[in-house]
């Protein structure tokens, strides 16, 4: 061990394991200016996030509020073109109320691209200096929120990487952390066994309904949450992929259901419902893995465990992504991108508990100065698109 966990204390008492300046564009028209502002600090903790749409969307505004006030974020620069519909005033008020330095740059008022980049960089430079000087405080595992996602799954994912991530979840939850698993569209076929793990029968019914909603949604679209590479990797049906994906959840009781941007109220295991409510609108629930990662982070995830068989390379803005490689052949091809070699389990060289403990230790080390492979490589993917959700119902978060 390298010493105790250290975090950055925020005014609401939460602690971050990173101290990022978020540069957030509020419409695609401001994206280039935001990217140019952040460019000089691309390896020094200045991340670009944003929403491309010009039409208002309650989900996107909630996501941006949660991301801009995430514990890993220390200061925020909002970049507006000026005429878009995004409620920049509301977002600025929320960030300011969280005690974080915030500035809203309006490109049309500042005098265009050059002047905006100059003014934006001056703000970022000042904030970066302040954040770099900030003292850290001791942090405990029980203060962590950890998400998990799988992407580029194959026949190895559900045997090695996903169950190993599940073992890590069980251990983190036993230590008091909150852990979030997701993609109800990839739990089709597992709804009944999952519901039996809910802490109340009412929550169990809600979990089953969330999967039924996903099945309906995907049936309407005519597509499953299943990519061609999944089949090439040996997965034959969505049910088979689901059974493997479900293993990420471990064996702990399920304490609640969240929707994107809802924070887990206490430690325990939570399912994130990523499929929109109501009629099918705006297209696919999540157009790629990073859309899901952004949602886990908006639920407060300090880091995200990403299990891959085929070999995804992505990371994320705001929170580190830990890549768990399920397939030993992929590990040998893409070791530079991978943090954990779970394919050893398939080859009989390690057990699930051993790899699970390795993942848990790696998560803790991220608050002790360690960085993930995707962070080292500069991956800061981010995507946010249109969705619509109804608020959580009363059965979603039963009192513990």
């Amino acid at each position: 061990m390298i010493g105790p966990m250290q975090g950055y204390l925020r005014s609401n008492g939460r602690k971050g394991i990173r101290n990022v300046v978020a540069v957030a564009y509020l419409v695609e028209c401001a994206h280039h200016v935001a990217r140019e502002i952040a460019l000089p600090w691309r390896e020094e903790g200045v991340h670009v996030i944003g929403f491309p749409g010009c039409y208002p969307n309650g989900y996107a505004e909630k996501m941006m509020e949660r991301l801009c006030t995430h514990p890993n974020v220390g200061a925020v620069l909002l970049v507006s073109l000026g005429c878009e519909s995004f409620n920049k005033y509301a977002l600025e008020r929320v960030v300011a109320a969280s005690g974080r330095p915030v500035k809203t740059l309006i490109i049309q008022g500042t005098g265009g691209t050059r002047a905006s980049i100059r003014e934006g960089r001056a703000f970022v430079e000042a904030q970066r200096d302040l954040l770099d000087a900030q003292e850290t405080v001791a942090m405990a595992v029980s203060e962590l929120i950890v998400g998990t996602v799988c992407g580029g799954s194959d026949g190895t994912s559900g045997i090695t990487g996903n169950p190993a991530a599940g073992r890590a979840f069980d251990q983190l939850i036993a230590e008091g952390a909150a852990c979030i698993f997701e993609e109800t569209g990839e739990l089709i076929g597992c709804e009944h066994i999952m519901a039996a793990r809910a802490i109340t029968p009412e929550l169990g019914a809600v979990l089953e309904q969330s999967v039924a909603k996903a099945a309906r949604y995907y049936a309407t679209l005519g597509y499953g949450s299943f990519a061609a590479g999944n089949a090439e990797g040996g997965l034959s049906t969505i049910e088979e992929k689901s059974m493997g994906a479900y293993a990420k959840s471990g064996a702990s009781p399920i304490s609640g259901l969240l929707k994107p941007g809802d924070l887990p109220p206490r430690g325990g295991l939570y399912l994130l419902d990523v499929v929109p409510d109501g009629e099918v609108r705006f297209g696919f629930p999540n157009i790629n893995d990073n859309a899901e990662i952004a949602e886990l982070i908006a639920c407060g995830a300090h880091c995200v465990l990403f299990v891959t068989g085929r070999g995804s390379v992505v990371g994320s803005a705001i929170s580190p992504v830990v890549k768990i490689c399920a397939n030993p052949e992929t590990w040998r091809r893409m070791e530079d991108d991978m943090d954990i070699d779970a394919g050893r389990i398939l080859e009989g060289l390690a057990g699930l508990d051993e790899v699970g403990a390795e993942i848990r230790d790696l998560v803790v080390s991220l608050a002790q100065g360690a960085r993930t492979k995707s962070e080292e490589l500069g991956h800061q993917e981010f995507i946010l698109t249109y969705k619509s959700f109804e608020p959580l119902g009363p059965a979603c978060l039963p009192a513990a």
Binding site: C150, G151, G152, S153, D154, G155, T156, G158, I159, E183, G185, E186, I188, G189, C190, I193, A215, Y218, A219, L221, G222, Y223, G224, S225, F226, A227, A228, G229, N230, A231, E232, G233, G234, S236, T237, I238, E239, E240, M243, G244, F284, N286, I287, N288, D289, E292, T308, G309, R310, S312, N327, P328, E329, L346, E347, G348
Partner: protein
């Protein structure tokens, strides 16, 4: 009798094994109930029939149904999109691309397509 060490049995109820290593067409494997011949090249973590499976019979993996056989499947056969299907949504896959070690699938290109991996 125990099954071949190159095959993983995830649950005693399962009708399939998972290949721990790549298997070649013509190789024989011990299923635990007798020897069976591998019917085509099988890539890592793909499925191998543990016993004869009838059309319409559920395919069990992790002890749970993951779909249904669309044809008679002999023990030792590769079990994949060419001889089983989902009970929920159709599976989208690209033709060949080295997939199951070069065996083109009669169902290639059929059905829906998914974004998330």
């Amino acid at each position: 009798m125990t099954h071949d060490h190159r095959l993983i049995l995830l649950d005693p109820r399962d009708t399939i094994f998972v290949a721990r290593v790549r298997l070649r067409v013509g190789e024989t494997v011990e299923t635990g109930a007798g020897m069976a011949v591998i019917d085509r090249d099988i890539a890592l973590a793909h499925k191998v029939a543990r016993r004869a499976i009838a059309p319409g019979e559920k395919i069990l993996k992790y002890g749970a149904p993951i779909g249904v056989a669309t044809t008679t499947i002999a023990a030792g056969s590769h079990v994949h999109v060419h001889n089983m299907k989902s009970d929920y949504t159709p599976t989208y896959h690209l033709e060949d691309e080295r997939g199951a070690a070069g065996n083109p699938s009669p169902l290639a290109g059929e059905g829906g397509r998914g974004a998330a991996g």
